[in-house]
């Protein structure tokens, strides 16, 4: 909403491993201003959008995201998010957002007990968020997942609240958009792949849009999300 491209900050935790992918896509594919933010820093460097990238922060010790949630920079991220700043958690970043209680629910181990690394299909359930506004209404996104703990769980009351407030953003589907158990890669309740907070500024998703943004990789659906948030700032 500023008429200029957003400035991105990609947080680097010890064990992050999708930080460079996110940086590359944002800078080289979209031409956004982007910088790395070390987890021990306490300055978000005037970022408009904070990315918590995928990886295995702190070796996934204790619980995924549990220790990263207390990294020094997270105080600033919490404050920034509280004030309406945009935060996007991808995979491990989503797990960190859950541990920080910026988003409701928890991530359990995949019901298969296997690490799942493959392309999945996603329906976009909420087209009102700045992250998804630019995506066509019936578009089914093809984006890869890579995780061992992606089995989203929340109690009945939380699920009702998520549904009532249109906070479920992405759900796992078949290639033609059918929501069923067969195409649920991890056992997530309601096939949930991504959710947003009530205010609409904090998004968490297990699939990796940064791995499906460079045309060289022949997958570009993830780029629609980065494009959408960029457009939001430009308009």
């Amino acid at each position: 909403m500023t008429g200029t491209k957003p400035r991105f900050g990609v947080v680097v935790f010890p064990g992050s491993n999708c930080d460079y992918d996110a940086f590359y896509v944002l800078k080289k594919i979209f031409g956004y201003d982007v910088r790395f933010l070390w987890h021990k820093d306490t300055d978000l460097q005037n970022s408009d959008v904070i990315i918590l990238p995928g990886g295995f922060s702190y070796g996934d010790y204790l619980r995924t995201g549990a220790i990263a949630r207390f990294s020094p920079i997270m105080n600033q991220v919490l404050d920034f998010a509280e004030k309406g700043g945009f935060v996007m958690g991808i995979c491990n970043g989503f797990q960190i957002l859950l541990e920080a209680r910026l988003l409701p629910g928890v991530m359990l181990q995949n019901n298969s007990l296997q690490f799942v690394c493959k392309d999945v299909y996603l329906s976009v359930e909420n087209h009102d968020s700045p992250f998804t506004k630019g995506i066509e209404s019936d578009k089914v996104l093809k984006i890869p997942v890579a995780h061992g703990d992606g089995n989203y769980f929340a109690d009945e009351a939380t699920l009702k609240s998520l549904t009532d407030n249109n906070q479920v953003v992405f759900r796992y589907t078949s290639p033609d958009g059918q929501i069923n158990d067969e195409h649920n890669p991890n056992g997530s309740v309601m096939n949930i792949a991504g959710i947003i907070n009530k205010k609409g500024n904090i998004l968490g998703m297990m699939p990796h849009p940064e791995r499906a943004s460079d045309p060289v990789l022949s997958k570009i659906d993830g780029g629609m999300i980065f494009n959408s948030i960029g457009k939001y700032f430009l308009n």
Binding site: R63, A66, V106, L108, N111, L113, A154, D155
Partner: protein, 89 residues
């Protein structure tokens, strides 16, 4: 000083696929009569205070804020007096 021993269990309402898989192993081993296997965590550490109330408060804080996630886990702990000079070799 105190030694704290913390037990973290999944809430009964949360499925434990790992426990289920382990139970399958028991079945293959021929160990019978096993059911409801659930896997939790055991964590122990030293609390550097001689005030038991203060120690309980600190451990409670550690358990509820970091060691466990109350959405999916319950915790319990015990505190026993600890004398560092009596460390087992």
């Amino acid at each position: 000083m105190f030694k704290a021993q913390v037990l973290i269990k999944r809430r009964p309402s949360i499925l434990d696929p790992q426990g289920k898989a382990v139970e399958k192993g028991a079945e293959h081993l021929g160990i019978k009569n096993i059911r409801d296997t659930r896997i939790g965590k055991f964590i122990e550490f030293i609390v550097e205070t001689d005030n038991k109330t203060a120690a309980e408060k600190e451990v409670n804080n550690y358990c509820s804020k970091l060691l466990s996630n109350p959405i999916m886990e319950n915790f319990e702990f015990t505190l026993t007096k600890f004398d560092p000079s009596e460390i087992e070799s």
